[in-house]
């Protein structure tokens, strides 16, 4: 039974470039660049100094609050600098730069086997929090926060997202094929923490080997089933995934916990298992390096903080006509102007496109074909939203649901006149946010100055 959701598009999945490439463990990097903000929430606060010696797994920046995560040293060595560096977000962020001493030695007390059965739920959550685990699907939301829903939002279903709907990306696919055990053990821990009996692992039909591998891994495990899903982008969006498996609709503006669900990426689940069973912080992750712009697409196990430039080298370097570098998939990954950026916790894919793949066509006036309305998985009207943004009718922009847009890109993808719909929508969201921030500032300054 293959569930699905409303709307969606069918881009070429381009996974054959890398879906048979076994994971290659990269050598220990000589330098790592660790941004203090690799997650949703408050940035971490640096607790080391330049020149300080650190071991692998030491905390270099502590969590900046509850909705935050610590950053760890991913090699042993010396703190070479603490300064802003270019990151995949397009902005320069404060980074802790560590030069490796070549020893790659663990910090004391870490990387030691734990007796899971004797740990309480609170202790398990503590290990997850201290390990700095965030959502590895790309959104990078602190996992311990997701696993601590408020009392009035009971959870009865945990879903692992093995969908990987973005074209080109194959890191989750290879992990499910090569390392299924950790994923399932992690899911058991998640279900125990959330006190729920049902776990689903959602995988799209275009990954038959991964489906088989996970089905074998969950044989005999109570309460966990593998759900095969129809191949359609963006099946991996959490609202779409929840609907396809459970038929529950997450309320607009709401969260999965509002319908009793928690969704985690398969990689996050494996990282949870490593943190709880081996007291290992999140130091490395699988990244797909692919596209027609690299010589030899690969899936690598890379340290957080490794330079993207080095990943490209492992993939055989750039092709002659490489022209676009994307951190993520082609539908939602931000394009980069430089490869001198670090791999962070949410980096799942490095995609390089050739010159001849970068022309998306000339923008023409809307012909009201309604293909964008047909494909929008959130049932919005993208062309109308774009026109309203163009004419700056901000009240209508909000009313037509611009903040419900998940920016999946289906509308721009399918538009025959190549309108830059997502770009207009992003601009609309940013403008509305700026306007309401300005108004709030005006309100608070009014309160400070009493009328004379």
């Amino acid at each position: 039974m293959a569930g699905t959701f409303i709307g969606g598009v069918h881009p070429d999945d381009s996974k054959s470039l890398s879906n048979t490439c076994e994971i290659i463990e990269m050598p220990v990097p000589s330098i790592v660049v660790l941004p203090v903000s690799q997650h949703i929430g408050a940035p971490a606060n640096v607790v080391v100094e330049k020149g300080q010696s650190v071991k692998k797994g030491d905390i270099v920046a502590e969590a900046g609050g509850f909705v935050s995560a610590p950053v760890h040293a991913t090699v042993s060595g010396t703190v070479a600098a603490i300064e802003p560096r270019n990151t995949a977000s397009g902005r320069k962020l404060l980074c802790v730069i560590i030069e490796s001493d070549g020893e790659d030695s663990w910090s004391d007390g870490l990387n030691s086997k734990q007796d899971i059965s004797s740990l309480s739920i609170k202790e398990k959550l503590g290990l997850i929090r201290d390990a700095g685990i965030v959502g590895l699907g790309g959104a990078a939301f602190p996992t311990h926060v997701k696993l601590s829903p408020p009392e009035d939002k009971p959870i009865d279903i945990v879903i692992l997202n093995g969908v990987e709907c973005e074209p080109y990306s194959t890191c989750d696919d290879r992990m499910m094929i090569e390392r299924p055990g950790g994923i399932v053990e992690g899911l058991k821990i998640l279900m125990e923490i959330l006190d729920c009996k049902k776990g689903y692992i959602g995988i799209e039909n275009n990954k038959p080997a991964a489906i088989k591998s996970m089905q074998d891994a969950v044989k005999g495990v109570d309460g966990i089933t593998v759900e095969k899903l129809k191949v359609k982008y963006p099946q991996g969006g959490e609202k779409q995934l929840i609907y396809a498996i459970t038929k529950r609709k997450v309320p607009a503006g709401g969260l999965p916990m509002d319908v009793g669900c928690v969704v985690q990426n398969v990689g996050t689940s494996a990282a949870v298992f490593e943190a709880v069973s081996l007291k290992r912080p999140l130091l490395e992750r699988i990244v797909t390096v692919t596209g027609n712009g690299v010589a030899k697409p690969v899936n690598v196990l890379a340290r957080i903080g490794e330079s993207v430039e080095n990943l490209i080298n492992v993939a055989g370097g750039y092709s002659e006509n490489a022209a676009k570098l994307i951190m993520g998939g082609p539908m939602m990954g931000p394009s980069q102007f430089t490869d001198e950026i670090p791999v962070v916790k949410g980096s799942s894919c490095v995609l390089v496109m050739n010159e001849d793949e970068t022309d998306t066509g000339e923008q023409l006036p809307c012909i009201s074909c309604a293909r964008c309305v047909d494909v929008c998985p959130m049932r919005l009207m993208p062309s109308t939203l774009a026109t309203l943004v163009e004419y700056e009718h901000w009240d209508d922009v909000k009313d037509y649901g611009v903040f419900d847009c998940i920016e999946c890109g289906s509308c721009s993808y399918i538009c025959p006149v190549k309108r830059k719909l997502v770009e207009y929508i992003k601009f609309g969201k940013a403008s509305l946010t700026a306007i309401s921030a300005k108004e709030k500032a005006k309100e608070s300054s009014k309160e400070e100055k009493p009328e004379k």
């Binding site: 074909c369 309604a370 419900d404």
Partner: protein, 340 residues
């Protein structure tokens, strides 16, 4: 210093369908009916189609040039307008009818508003209605389908016109003679023999609208490609069927010849090729159904009680004008929205 890369906003890939692909697919879908037009009505039909296409394209190119816009005729939309306008003409019209109709439809219906995407009404429909009310005699003079033999000297009425005239006689039986009444009933009975002809297209009418079979072949191709949806044609045709079934019979309610109404006149070409014109139809799901139903009601009202035997063109034009209001009030419910 590392390589510098191109930047753009997501998504970085696109489906390879563009306007041209859609338009040329529509032209392909109209070819069976065009072949039928020539088969049933002769080379004169081909001449009308060609004249119409050339006039539409030339008007768009010329006006575009005057306005300083780049050449747009190769996107295929002017060609489609030309073909559809020609399909809506009786075979006997003089050569200047398609020319004038094309010029009016493109210039007033499309270019004054800014070209493709900006027009509020279907240019082919606008051109056709302009011709109908300006030259009613030429636009309502039909011939039998004679194929390549050429046009007969005598003109005939379309099946819909026959039904309408004779239904009137029957309904006003008190003011008709017995002979007129009997002749009317037998003429209507004859129409039932012609269902196969109506379906294939071997009847009098406008050159492109007669063959339901050939039009449906083209329309299924477009539906398979998802270039036209099912909502507008289905709700349009179903509404005409239901309405004429209830009100269209002369033996009381629920006795109307609904199948006859569905396969006669311009309903199939109107519902599948003209009401579905993307620019002038609603973009919301419920909106498209309302649009189809509205077209169906107006068509049926005109056919049964209006002055003309056929109402498809008027219904589409009138519903085109309501599209912005329809879209505003039929917004789809955002996924997960509770309440309004």
């Amino acid at each position: 210093m590392s390589k510098m890369f191109k930047l753009s906003v997501t998504p970085h890939i696109r489906d390879n369908t563009d306007v041209q692909k859609i338009m040329y697919s529509v032209i392909l879908a109209l070819l069976p009916a065009a072949a039928g037009a020539v088969y049933f009505f002769g080379l004169r039909a081909l001449w009308l189609i060609v004249l119409s296409i050339i006039s539409c394209a030339a008007t768009e190119a010329l006006i575009g040039k005057m306005l300083g816009k780049p050449l747009t005729i190769f996107d295929g939309s002017a060609v489609i307008t030309g073909i559809l306008l020609a399909f809506n003409l009786p075979v006997g019209v003089p050569w200047w009818i398609p020319v004038v109709g094309s010029i009016f439809g493109i210039a007033v219906g499309k270019m004054t508003f800014g070209g493709l995407g900006y027009n509020p009404v279907n240019p082919a429909i606008l051109g056709r209605i302009f011709l109908l009310i300006s030259w009613p005699i030429q636009m309502t003079t039909w011939h039998k389908p004679n194929g390549f033999t050429g046009l007969d000297a005598e003109t005939v009425a379309t099946p819909l016109a026959v039904l309408k005239q004779n239904s009137r006689i029957i309904l006003n039986r008190d003011s008709s003679t017995i002979e007129a009444f009997n002749s009317a009933t037998s003429k209507i009975a004859e129409l039932s023999d012609s269902y196969m002809d109506l379906f294939i297209g071997n009847v009098s009418g406008c050159i492109g609208e007669t063959s339901v079979l050939l039009l449906l072949i083209g329309a299924s191709f477009l539906m398979y490609k998802h270039y036209i949806g099912w909502r507008i044609p289905f709700s349009f045709v179903a509404t005409v069927g239901i309405f004429t079934w209830i009100f269209g019979g002369y033996e009381g309610y629920f006795t109307g010849p609904w199948l006859f109404h569905i396969i006669s006149g311009g309903l199939i070409i109107g519902a599948f090729f003209m009401a579905t014109d993307m620019v002038t139809s609603p973009i919301t799901f419920r909106g498209r159904i309302i649009f189809g139903i509205g077209c169906g009601i107006i068509t049926s009202v005109i056919r049964l009680w209006g002055g003309y035997p056929e109402g498809v063109s008027f219904s589409i034009l009138l519903m085109n004008i309501t599209v912005p209001i329809i879209d505003r009030y039929t917004r789809p419910r955002v996924f997960g929205k509770v309440g309004k």
